[in-house]
Amino acid sequence: MKIHPTITKLLFTLVLCAIFVSDDSLAAKAPACVGGSSCMFLIDMTANPGDVAIMTNLDYVAPGSKSDTAIDDGIGVNTTNIADFHVLSRDITEAPNALKLTIGETGNSVVEDQFGSDTQLKYFAGGNHLFDLERIRVSADWMAQPGNLNPDSGVLAGTYGTLSFSQFLGNIQEHRTMYGFVRVKIPLELGGCLNTTGNCDRNALGGVVTPSDLYGFCQSSVDMCSCAPTSGFKIKEGLTLCGLVMPSSAQIRVKGSLLYDFVASEDNAVAGLNAGDSIPLSLLPWAPRELYFKVEVPIMVNWEFDTDADGAMDNMFNIAAVSMGGSNGLLTAPPITWEMVAPSNMVEYEYYTGEVLTETVFEGLDNASKYHLMMPSGYATGWAEAFDKLNITGGIWRGIPAEPAYGLPDGFENTILTANVVRDHNFEDIPTYLYSGGLIDMHDHVNISGLVYVPQGMELEAKDSSLPTRQYIIGAVVVRDTFYIEAKTNTITVISSDPTSYSTAVINTAIVAARGGGGVVPSASFVASNSDAGDGQAGSGSGDTNTSHITGDHLCYTGCTSESVGSAGAATAPSGAARWIEVRPLVPAPTPE
């Protein structure tokens, strides 16, 4: 039988179409996981009732794709690739408190598009960093200085304090844990902005600049660029980075605080930078993607509950199972058993309540509390381990030449600091995982306890469905420009809000001033304007009080109500953490002409 040429062409076209449709490139453009049946991205707000789960100044799109975000082109929205993410919250109107599931974007779970409004978040007011990174730099530099610390014999130099990029990679390769303030100097090169997004004429603060004045990934291999990230950089198993082959056991392991600090690779007289000096945001590119720092190995900072040491928190499947397949409303019989309580939370529970957590006690708790007890935090124990390994007493901690000195409860001058000291509300919390700029991308397991701080962009992508990848952050995540969260099939991503690990962190004084911290009416109140209810605009200068917050530096386990529980985000500054703001009569803002 002779087939007509037209039919042949048609069949050939159909075959091509079939091949194209089955191609991964098409599949990759669609959301990897939809319907909430085989992936999970959830935010646990049970410890922080009253606050919404997601707050943004720009738009929030769910579902969306990476191309919607500033990560690609510098024009920002925030995105998750699935619409049916879960928010688990504590319903304090119920007695006992109930566990409530909210699926997807609602007014109760997301507050977005606040830019230019009265409720605009001002954590980066005036272009300042939320935290005084210089304090951390000084602290890390001091720790690395020989003679200042006397670590245990097994703790090698180069595993604490300020590290070179090569030292950092060496620690990853050798599976070494880093301790205390860990500052990794990541060299960038002047003129290195590659303009992949066409925005190299803007700096990270939005100012118009000459592209050659901006820093970017190294193009050369001279000076500090001999070991530095380049375009397409990633920390990944099997790759050779700075002559070091990343093994399958490669993990980023830190007990304390980790700061990725972009530094100048060589002297820059025009900008007043010497080689190794930190690069301000004004000299970094507008689009975070120009500094795309991808990590495809487990990131473990103050990690907890990882008995098999694979980098993933062990309770993730249990957590996901609680709401998987659920629907909006109260979860009256969540599958939470005594065996699912994270071991470290028994210690935490006893510290905050004064009561030993037994199975009987557990069974008497409300569902919201039971749920939160599945979420372990290694923040206090992580720092305690760092203090122990580095032999840091209260006197040494106070003696770190950071201005001002770190807040600490009294009475530990000659005692190595413990986890309970860290839990004390007079201990100044330290942000846990910080960048000084750029786009961070996390593809592998994440197990972080504490505050994640990203002054530009963040991608939290649970990529590998075969592991499956489990990404766990207990604390909070603060980004400046944009975030993209991707949940792929068979992966779990959990962000558990936990103010105990960051509520007493001290924010940059310049932020207080830049957002008008002095606008308190003297005759009305002289309250400490550090935290107000709901909108997250700490110290917005409008006479905010702390009284309506529910939890701050205390966990909310039983009988949590809006009137009686918690200490309102540490209304009293920890010792050594106070700043002073001017109290001025509140005056109307000037009107533009």
Partner: protein, 302 residues
């Protein structure tokens, strides 16, 4: 033509002489009085000038201290173009917040914005504790801040004590604690030299040369200031801060800038309130689980 002869008698001659003498005395007296007036006028003029200059100098010294806080100009930033924002930091901050184009270098401003209030870092760093001022000041490394007694005074009185001593009242009885900078609470008059405690505490000291203000670096004592002033115009000035407790809230602190300047025989004392400061904790508190807080309207194309 008939001539008339007038004869003056001996008595008349005596009267004439007397009249001449009176006129002479009047003339001399007038001259002396005029000369005295001229001298006094000159003296008054000089004193007035000294007084004005000393007042200006005191103001200048005071503003030098106060302005050092307010205008935290980045002197190390020597690379052009020089940013405009330092001229009015308040506009900078406000305009950035409202996206109003004013010609201010937004990038530079955001990169290194000027606080539009007293530079709180200095005071905050000083009082790096939330306990009583006296304890906080114990760790102070800023020598030019003082307070009276146990940090419980609600009105400034340090300058008055200095003025009393300078006005001739013997400056005795005042002591200053080395560690805390606390001036003794007991009623006393404070000789300015007492304010100079070497490396422990010391006002900012100034002198002038051809009308320009110069800072005296780290004077060990007041005599050292006077000695250095002798090399220039002979003028001296000192400025410092006094802290008092706010009457409405015991946790708030009133900051007073005080200065004294001496030019010739004139001495001026000036004081200005620099604001009320509150130890508002800037701890983070509580926030949403996932926060994006862009300070730039990235919804628009760059």
């Amino acid at each position: 033509m008939r001539k008339i002869q007038v004869r003056i008698g001996k008595q008349q001659k005596g009267l004439t002489l007397l009249l001449v003498l009176v006129l002479l005395v009047v003339t001399i007296s007038s001259s002396l009085f005029f000369q005295e007036r001229m001298t006094a006028s000159t003296r008054i003029s000089g004193a007035t000038r000294d007084n004005s200059v000393s007042l200006i100098l005191a103001e200048s010294a005071m503003e030098n201290l106060r302005g050092g806080f307010i205008n935290d100009y980045p002197l190390s930033d020597t690379s052009p173009p020089y940013p405009l924002y330092a001229l009015d930091s308040r506009d900078c901050t406000w305009n950035l917040a409202h996206d109003v184009a004013t010609g201010i270098d937004a990038a530079a401003c955001q990169a290194d914005p000027r606080p539009d209030v007293l530079r709180v870092a200095d005071i905050g760093g000083l009082m790096s504790d939330t306990v009583a001022l006296e304890t906080s000041l114990g760790a102070a490394d800023v020598g030019y801040i003082y307070y009276v007694g146990a940090a419980d005074q609600v009105l400034p009185n340090l300058l008055q004590r200095v003025a009393n001593a300078g006005a001739g009242v013997t400056g005795t009885g005042c002591t200053i604690e080395t560690g805390t900078h606390s001036v003794s609470e007991a009623e006393c008059n404070l000789d300015i030299s007492t304010l100079f405690g070497g490396t422990n505490y010391s006002p900012l000291a100034f002198t002038t040369s051809e009308g320009l203000l110069f800072k005296v670096e780290d004077p060990e004592n007041w005599q050292a200031v006077l000695d250095q002033a002798d090399n220039y115009d002979g003028t001296v000035a000192a400025a410092w801060l006094e802290l008092t407790v706010n009457t409405e809230n015991p946790d708030a602190v009133d900051v007073w800038v005080q200065a004294v300047a001496s030019v010739g025989i004139a001495t001026s004392y000036v004081q200005r309130n620099a604001g009320t400061y509150h130890p508002a904790s800037n701890v983070l508190g509580s926030l949403a689980g996932l926060v994006e807080s862009s300070n730039i309207d990235r919804r628009l194309s760059p």
